[in-house]
Subunit: 185 residues, 2 copies
DNA sequence: CGTTGTTATGCAACGAGGTGCATAGCAGGA
DNA sequence: TCCTGCTATGCACCTCGTTGCATAACAACG
């Protein structure tokens, strides 16, 4: 139940509407925490009634008006409390790993194209991360050598990069393994 | 919604009761697919009514009787169908990454012990994987060089090992980053 | 004999999360 | 003008998943 906290962090980095949050969850934040817009709107309303966030109606021209959310003091406290509590390591769900073990009871070679699809997706993400790193962290910070927000965003991004590289290498391993069954049928 | 399929794979590897499945989901399978026993029992009943699995009452001495499930032909077909369908890459949820970015608005150094806890958990998992690898895959297969089940289980395990190694290296990176804020407060 | 622990199965209730759909303002192109 | 597409918010429904609890058989220990 950390969606609230992910939203708090995102709003602390920059206030915004539910729609804008949903878009961020498709981009930067979404690479380590996913959420649909319905979920975000629902949680935002709960956070609003809990006084975790403030709302401000922002009239817009050329597009519908929006509600801009920003973090209120109780929200900051809630985040601080959550940061001080231990969190259990994430529970993993890898369809592909299930499929690979399941392929032993079907045709292993039939999985090759699926694995290649995943490899391509991870290659694309890696390229996206690297482009973002070059853009946002390519040159030294203008705010001094110890800008916490920037440094911590960077180390999280490096985690994403390391993850994608690991996945690509592993998927190559998987492909090599599957290919052996293909060749000798 | 691949829990059914994870159960099918597990039952194909070896038939067993709901309880036994739950224990497997705490061990080997659980490292890439988690499930509680309630979930497993519920899904097993659904799978039984869909004729995906057969049940056999097994009286036991010295402990309560059990129901042993095994995969029925329609279950095999369902698995085969699922294997042939493309699956979207997993949705990720990393509490720790949220916490790290959130630490920029709190005390970054306060996260160090939490990150160390996670590092320890991953080190433990890695050791467990490596022990399992040495045990199960240390010597060449007795069933010939192309035992699909064994080879595919091994490549999935290698994925787990690669993941844990990557995580440990990244957490060291995180710790080094956090330490910089600690030193210069 | 009572307690604790393990095997084994299950119910009830709740919250999290996802899908589909609806609405509405406005822009831009066919 | 109609259609498509983007911004922006929301409802209804249903499934997934977790928590807490309950039951029952037996083993081992004090």
């Amino acid at each position: 139940m950390a969606l609230e906290h992910a939203i708090l962090v995102s709003l602390l980095e920059k206030p915004g509407s539910g729609y804008e949050l949903a878009r961020r969850f498709e981009r930067s934040i979404g690479y380590f925490w996913t959420a649909t817009h319905q979920q975000i709107y629902r949680v935002l309303r709960r956070m609003e009634s809990d006084r975790w966030v403030d709302v401000r109606d922002v009239p817009q021209y050329g597009r519908p008006d929006k509600k801009e959310y920003s973090v209120a003091p109780p929200g900051r406290e809630a985040l601080s409390l959550w940061l001080s509590e231990p969190t259990e390591p994430e529970s993993v769900r890898h369809d592909l790993a299930v499929k690979i073990r399941g392929a032993a009871f079907d045709d292993p070679a039939a999985l090759i194209s699926e694995v290649e699809r995943h490899r391509q997706a991870h290659t694309g993400r890696l390229a996206h991360y690297l482009a973002g790193e070059a853009r946002d962290f390519g040159e030294p910070s203008a705010d001094g050598p110890l800008d916490a927000e920037r440094e911590l965003q960077h180390v999280v991004l490096r985690g994403g990069i390391a993850y994608e590289r690991m996945m690509i290498a592993w998927l190559d391993d998987v492909l090599a393994t599957l290919a052996r069954f293909d060749a000798e049928h």
